[in-house]
Symmetry: C3
Subunit: 209 residues, 3 copies
Amino acid sequence: MNYLIAIEFLAVIVSAIYGVLLAARKGMDVMGVFAVSFAVAFGGGTLRDLFLDRTPLFWVGNPHYPVIVLGIAVFSGFLVRYIGRIRPLLVFPDALGMALFTLTGTAYAMDAGTGVFVAALLGVITGTFGGVLGDMICNEVPSLFTPSPLNATCSFAGAWVYLGMTHRDFLQPFALVSGIVVIVLFRLAAVRWNWCFPAVREPNPPPSP
Amino acid sequence: MNYLIAIEFLAVIVSAIYGVLLAARKGMDVMGVFAVSFAVAFGGGTLRDLFLDRTPLFWVGNPHYPVIVLGIAVFSGFLVRYIGRIRPLLVFPDALGMALFTLTGTAYAMDAGTGVFVAALLGVITGTFGGVLGDMICNEVPSLFTPSPLNATCSFAGAWVYLGMTHRDFLQPFALVSGIVVIVLFRLAAVRWNWCFPAVREPNPPPSP
Amino acid sequence: MNYLIAIEFLAVIVSAIYGVLLAARKGMDVMGVFAVSFAVAFGGGTLRDLFLDRTPLFWVGNPHYPVIVLGIAVFSGFLVRYIGRIRPLLVFPDALGMALFTLTGTAYAMDAGTGVFVAALLGVITGTFGGVLGDMICNEVPSLFTPSPLNATCSFAGAWVYLGMTHRDFLQPFALVSGIVVIVLFRLAAVRWNWCFPAVREPNPPPSP
């Protein structure tokens, strides 16, 4: 259980930083930056806790989490100045945040007694919903829903790795790390070589109304 | 109670198919199609379960539901090819999905002991929220909120038919079927003859900022 | 506790009127107006109740609330005709609705035993989420997230005034009124003199993809 708390803590920090960069690209003010960071860092886990009826919510029960996210937003001016130069590396925190949150979602769902398929799904929802919410606040079509490098698929694969390894009685920390590594590597490879699924289209779509 | 489970099961399938067609029109990939189908099929019922504090969520407690929706999304390429030709008939599954979900929302709300007006509202929310979410993911203004053929109104009317009939001690299955038939016929008529409410406008709106 | 119920009741009415004016500007029909009023009046409080696991939701437990909002939406034609002329005064109900909901969020969170920072945050979420939802339904970039006169900041300041005063053993009604007055005056001043935070920007953002 302690492993999950450490993973969640890291996921919050990585996601908040990703949120700052998302917001800075839109020229938001510091409150807007905080709102986006907050949504990216807590969106997925909040949905997970609501869906599994876990109380209190993880950021209500760990009140230092939102304080940390506020701190990151307040110093975002410095952060943006520094990180802007290393943007090409940014795909890494994005992938890592998704991986960490996916594993917490899957593991908490299994603890709550759901079926394995639902646990994998809750992992994907926890891992990706923060990013979707951040994109929505920034008024962009969430990249999750457009043909773009595999995203939810990587998250789904890592959730199954974890589920398979715990089913085979591997130790939990080993299964957690394996799931995270699979998601991060799979996602980095998908971005690097632009792996996409083909689009599903109607043969002769009607003209748009 | 068993009637409601059967109705909910049918509602999930009909809504997932509607979601596939919504996503295919946007040329999404198979994961995007799954996300839209999932949102349309489970969005309304999830909100209903959260608002009524029913646990576990209906798709967590019935883990075969998301498996079926995944199956529909995986085979959506075939589905789209086949259903594209019968698009003019599509208004029917749309109306049926809304009708079925509306009745589950109203009936579960009454079971939870809400007032009748709140029960009718929860029916409308359950019946329409999936479609709103699907439209939002596809980045369209939800048709629920634009002047278009009556939609929530049909759902509202059917909820009251059910509430009136159960109040008068009709058998539940009879009241359920009556509510569904009213919603479907009302909605089909509204689309056919383009029944709309007039728009509410300010006499002299200020220029947009 | 009774003070909070009175404040919440007033907040619902003020917010529903604000929602009507938001919807009327977009030329929605009466059902769309109801949906927007409903979202503005109940969005923030619903999120508060879900996050704090309070059951039943405040508009489920007070079934006359949605009836009143429906009444306001039905008579919105008259309302819009009358209020259109006093639009310059409209910033006041907007600020008042935010203030009232902020205080209910903060007070209920403290009752539920959260930390003070989380209580202030829940106040801000309760106070601002209804407006964000209304903007989203109307397909606008929520003004909360764009550089515009201070908004969430006013709400945050008022929440801290309440928390500080109750910590110092002031009577609750006095602390509530002080928080509300601070938010309303702060917000009115921010709009009047156009107080904004500076935008956080990258020095050299990459070209948009």
